[in-house]
């Protein structure tokens, strides 16, 4: 299993635990319901999408015998996805004065970059047959 996949899966499990903790908090005390949008994105992006990125990078057809496509795009994806999630976890539920808006926009742009990076790695590998 390549190092990028191991990192994706380890981060994914961390976000799953974090999301479930937030879920428990919301279930115990309705005052925590403000976490709902963050909870949703931690589970869907941090856990599910990150897991898919890691496994797809590992198991989809290779571009050549010893290469899994343009690997620099996967490193970019790994960094942007997780930086974006951290920004969102900090800036969405908590009041940071005037910083919330720019940080949330930066978070969304990181996620857009991660989606583009993953696509740039996987797209050319489709149909290569290896």
């Amino acid at each position: 299993m390549p190092i990028q996949t191991r990192l994706f899966l380890q981060f994914a499990l961390g976000y799953l635990l974090l999301g479930l903790v937030a879920g428990v908090a919301m279930a115990i005390d309705p005052a925590w319901r403000f976490l709902w949008p963050t909870y949703l994105h931690v589970i869907v992006l941090g856990w599910l999408t990150q897991l898919i990125f890691g496994v797809a990078f590992w198991l989809f057809p290779r571009a050549s015998r010893d290469r899994r496509g343009r690997e620099r795009f996967i490193w970019v994806t790994l960094v942007l996805l997780n930086v974006g999630l951290v920004l969102r976890i900090v800036a969405e539920p908590f009041d940071l004065g005037g910083a919330n808006g720019p940080l949330l926009v930066a978070s969304a742009l990181c996620h857009l970059g991660a989606a583009a990076g993953f696509t740039a790695n996987i797209w050319p590998r489709m149909g290569s047959g290896r």
Partner: protein, 142 residues
């Protein structure tokens, strides 16, 4: 990797990038930047593209590829229903997402019906392949 899987996975990647772009616009609007009102209420399109267009479509594409094959040709079952499912799913995501954004109940409902029909058509192919690997059946991921 079969052709239908390539189509489904590539379409799911398009939805991933487009859905993330819609999400960035939504966040831009949420942060207080001036954007058209239509953008600010486009979250149903964002959700539809990422949950069905990306996640479900990717799962269908990979399932068609890796589920156990039949012993006789066509080894992955008839391809027609799966191609039609891919078409209906993408039309459905667009219809259901845009229909909710522009408040057009008929378009939204039509999109949802198309999504439902897509999954039924996919199941026609997939259900007979959900079985034990047999002696005369080929294995995974070819």
């Amino acid at each position: 990797m079969p052709r239908v899987t390539v189509v489904l996975v590539r379409a799911s990647l398009v939805h991933l990038v487009a859905g993330a772009a819609v999400g960035a616009l939504l966040m831009w609007a949420k942060a207080g930047y001036q954007l058209p009102a239509l953008v600010a209420r486009s979250w149903p399109l964002h959700a539809e593209m990422l949950l069905l267009g990306w996640l479900v479509q990717l799962a269908l594409g990979v399932a068609y590829w890796i589920l156990p094959k039949h012993a006789t040709v066509p080894v992955r079952g008839p391809v027609g229903p799966v191609m039609l499912a891919a078409l209906l799913l993408n039309v459905g995501v667009a219809g259901a997402g845009l229909g909710q954004v522009v408040n057009h109940a008929g378009l939204a409902a039509g999109g949802r019906v198309a999504e439902f029909a897509a999954v039924v058509l996919f199941a026609v192919n997939a259900v007979p392949r959900i079985k034990r690997f047999g002696r005369n059946q080929k294995s995974l991921c070819q």
